[in-house]
Amino acid sequence: MILHAENVSKHYGAFQALNAVTLGVSAGEFVSIIGPNGAGKSTLINVLTGLARPSAGSVRFKERDIAGIGPVKLAKLGMARSFQLVQIFPDLTVMETLEAAVVARLGRGRRLLASLAGDRAVREDAEDVAALFGLDTKRHALARHLPQGDKKLLDVASAFALRPEIILLDEPTSGVSTADKTRIMEILVAAAKRIGLKAIIQVEHDMDIVFTYSDRIVALHQGSVLADATPQAVQADQRLVDMVVGRRRRHGA
């Protein structure tokens, strides 16, 4: 098991955001975390990525305790993440954004007097990722000038440029058009295969995306795991569908 959270609880004052959540992710899995607003999905992602320290329980990544270690150390360990709200570097170009990720991964950020333009390894790696995400024709565009769908892609692409073993995506298709959602997911899955990503965990509200791409679905409700099953098993559980999937999917499925 590459990532394992055991009996994780998180409370903010009197509010219990997570309650004894146990979750394991193995190599080769695409796991979706679903649940209504306030179910604790983002808190769980924050705990799994070491951004928030759990009040109780443990989180282990590659057999190492990562509770609260923070994003910098986690990125170096091989775990990347993206946020619900698109995170870009507005005044950097697409290439500069990807190069920054490659520079960080290769540990070359402290090179004060080296020429970035002359670093072929960094440039070629960044160009590879740009091509993988269909951003190669926009390499020199400022991130702030990209359409929303491409901003989202660039955000995820920069996480992929870290060549992580596992990636956690907080609503990778939020705020983009329906057509862009499918495009982003197809690119994302293809890129994951290409770079040899071991596992993907995503928080997602779009049930079509969840049921199309997931190997496993973890349903959260009021901070607890309501179900941890295959998409088929989740769809077959009428009570579960009513509680966390919702009326639209039930009728549409």
Binding site: A100, L112, S115, D155
Partner: protein, 316 residues
């Protein structure tokens, strides 16, 4: 290509100035070039890292007083030694100051740097027996590349050998800083300026990079401070006063912090504008205040922004 032509023309103009300008105007170039060095460093922090310091006069003061102590107390006359010492002193003092300041951002960072600047100002003002208090300390004329030019009239010395020496230091400072901002380190600083939270998810340790940028900027300010000491022949606490920190931020805004050469242009325009306005009206600060207000409203990218299309960078 246009940029290279402009740079080549600027280089030729700077080389030719002692031959074509009046001595008065050549001497005005000395503070401009010293501020140019300071502002290259300040802008690594401001334009490239997104941190606005209101206390960098501290490091200018450290550089200038280092030069004064070396010539006065230790009888060292080599300008190379003076510049190296100023760089080391400013860098070493900046290490703990930066460690404390870079834990904060925005106005808190600015106020903390201001506070450290005022601590140093008060020190040099009150420790009269060591620093000469408000009278300051004299700075003996330094040797240039081992040459004692004491026999040369002062004006001739400043407008000739010292001018070219300062120009050479500015050129070296420009080349070094150009390399730094176009290095992997420079790229990491830009990610921090744009979005520190995102930078951290890429594995970029924001406090460490901010710390290093601060120390480098302090080294530049120290060298610039030491260069300022010789032309006046005296250093005093006003070099470290907070209004001096404000002036260099003003110069940076005037030229444009989003452009590599913007702050240098800002220093040039500031020095000459100040000289002109002071010769016309006694209330020159009022005029400068009005210019700053107009600039922020009408041209937030500064003078260089008027010539480039790059959009203004929001400094976090």
């Amino acid at each position: 290509m246009t940029g290279r032509i402009v740079l080549a023309l600027a280089a030729v103009a700077l080389l030719a100035m002692p031959w074509v300008l009046s001595t008065y105007h050549v001497l005005l170039m000395l503070p401009f070039m010293a501020y140019g060095v300071v502002l290259l460093g300040l802008n690594l922090l401001f334009g490239y890292t997104g941190l606005v310091s209101f206390g960098h006069a501290l490091f200018i003061g450290l550089g200038a007083y280092s030069a004064a102590f070396l010539t006065g107390w230790f009888k060292v006359r080599s300008l190379e030694v003076m510049l190296a010492t100023a760089a080391v002193v400013a860098g070493v003092i900046a290490m703990p100051v930066a460690a404390l300041c870079v834990r904060y951002v925005k106005i808190y960072f600015g106020m903390l740097t201001l506070a450290f600047g005022m601590v140093f100002y008060t020190f040099v003002l009150k420790f009269y027996s060591v620093t000469g208090g408000d009278e300051g300390m004299p700075v003996a004329r330094p040797f240039l590349l081992g040459r004692d030019l004491g026999a040369m009239p002062k004006i001739e010395y400043l407008a000739g050998p010292y001018y070219y020496y300062t120009l050479a230091v500015l050129v070296i400072a420009v080349l070094l800083m150009w390399r730094i901002v176009h290095s992997p380190f420079g790229l990491c600083l830009k990610t921090i300026r744009d979005n520190p939270a995102k930078a951290e998810t890429l594995g970029i340790s924001v406090p460490h990079y901010r710390w290093l940028a601060f120390v480098i900027s302090a080294v530049y300010a120290g060298v610039g401070g030491a260069l300022m000491a010789t032309p006046t022949g005296n250093v005093d606490p006003t070099l470290a006063y907070w209004t001096h920190s404000g002036n260099i931020v003003f110069m940076t805004l005037l030229g444009g912090f989003a452009n590599f050469f913007g702050p240098i242009v800002g220093a040039f325009v500031f020095i000459y504008l100040q000289d002109f306005v002071m010769s016309v009206v006694p209330w020159w600060r009022l005029v400068f205040g009005a210019i700053l207000a107009v600039l922020v409203i009408a041209a937030p990218q500064g003078l260089m922004g008027l010539f480039t299309r790059r959009r203004v960078t929001e400094v976090a």
